[in-house]
Amino acid sequence: MAGNRKRSWKIYPAWGYEKEIEDLNQASEQGWQLVNGGCFHSSFVKNPNVRYRYQMDYGRIDDMDRYIETFREQGWEHVHSTYNKWHYFRKAYDPALPEEAYEIFTDRESLQEMNNRWARLALIIAVLLAGFAVYYGVRLIQTPQLPLLIHTLAFALESGLLVWGWTIMRSPDPNRSRRCGSAFLTAILAVIVLGAVAGMVLSSLRPHFKTGQGGGALDEPMVDSRWADFEVKYRDNYFLDLDFASDAPMTFSVLDEAGQTVYTQTGTSFREENIRLQLPAGHYCFSISCETGYRINCIIQ
């Protein structure tokens, strides 16, 4: 039966559903009949002996029996419904019937209701995503670093994309689905997915070194001891939380591979968070120099 089935991975945004319907009608004309539709992927079966016209509806259905019966009464066959509440219907094409026979929304109000059902949800999600963008944006300002920049941009882009879709879905312009090219959308989605993955990978590559509270406590004197190592995988800003105290002045330093000091602090007591260190990739170590007992707690991330 090879060659009787076909898959398509074309991406359709919700606000381009009219274009999707057009494509389904065209596929049917060429003998490919929809089995399973969706926004990322559709599957078809070959049957050149029939021709269907398709329609899509969106929304939570209170009474599925009544819903399908209402469509069946007018010759619509329920093809399937997706998990995200899109419903696909088809009707055998009869050239003798007028075009209106293939409409499922016959007044402006009901079409607008359907569009608004999606638009409302999109707006809620867009606001949530904008909230994430703001959250990461604030953290980015506090501690500027690459993964946070990527997360902020990705969430802002996702939110913006949905707001754009929201305006198209609410637009009364009948040619609005022309305004959302599939290639453009695929590119944006690719950027978002790549951004999310890159953000996570970069985030996981960062050093997460942490001494326990008082974990570095030593009672005997210590001179120029290389205390702990950490590795930086890519050039970025890294942030040090440092808290130490001792009886006589002590020195805390961060050294690079060549033994050069990239950060140093001397005193009997010191406490600061989010000390920004701009570090190229490489191996680093903390060094402590102290002639009396001391305690230290530090985090680098």
Binding site: E100, E103, I104, S110
Partner: protein
């Protein structure tokens, strides 16, 4: 008196088609086309939404047909408040028409 919102054409015709007795969706659709001389059609999506909304408003209710041969067929029936809403809409339309004639 609270002024009622103008009804959509589909709501109006559905109520009108039920005024003389219960009917199923397809019957309402056919009757609407006949009454309006083909000007008004009610597609399935519009029908499902309108009947659902009007059931929520309490203007119509769903009953099962007990006619022999078509048992268990879903029918819609006008309620008293639905009849009242239809009457109010007709009065509104009459008033608008009368206004047009005055001018």
């Amino acid at each position: 008196m609270k002024r009622s919102e103008p009804m959509s054409e589909s709501y109006y015709y559905i109520l009108l088609c039920l005024a003389k007795g219960a009917n199923h969706g397809y019957g309402i659709m056919q009757m609407t086309e006949k009454l309006s001389g083909g000007d008004v059609t009610i597609g399935s999506g519009t029908m499902y939404g309108a009947t659902g909304n009007m059931m929520k408003k309490g203007w119509i209710r769903e009953i099962m047909s007990d006619e022999p041969g078509v048992e268990r067929r879903r029918l819609y029936q006008l309620t008293d408040s639905g009849r009242e809403a239809l009457r109010a809409e007709i009065a509104r339309l009459r008033r608008m028409l009368a206004n047009a004639e005055e001018v």
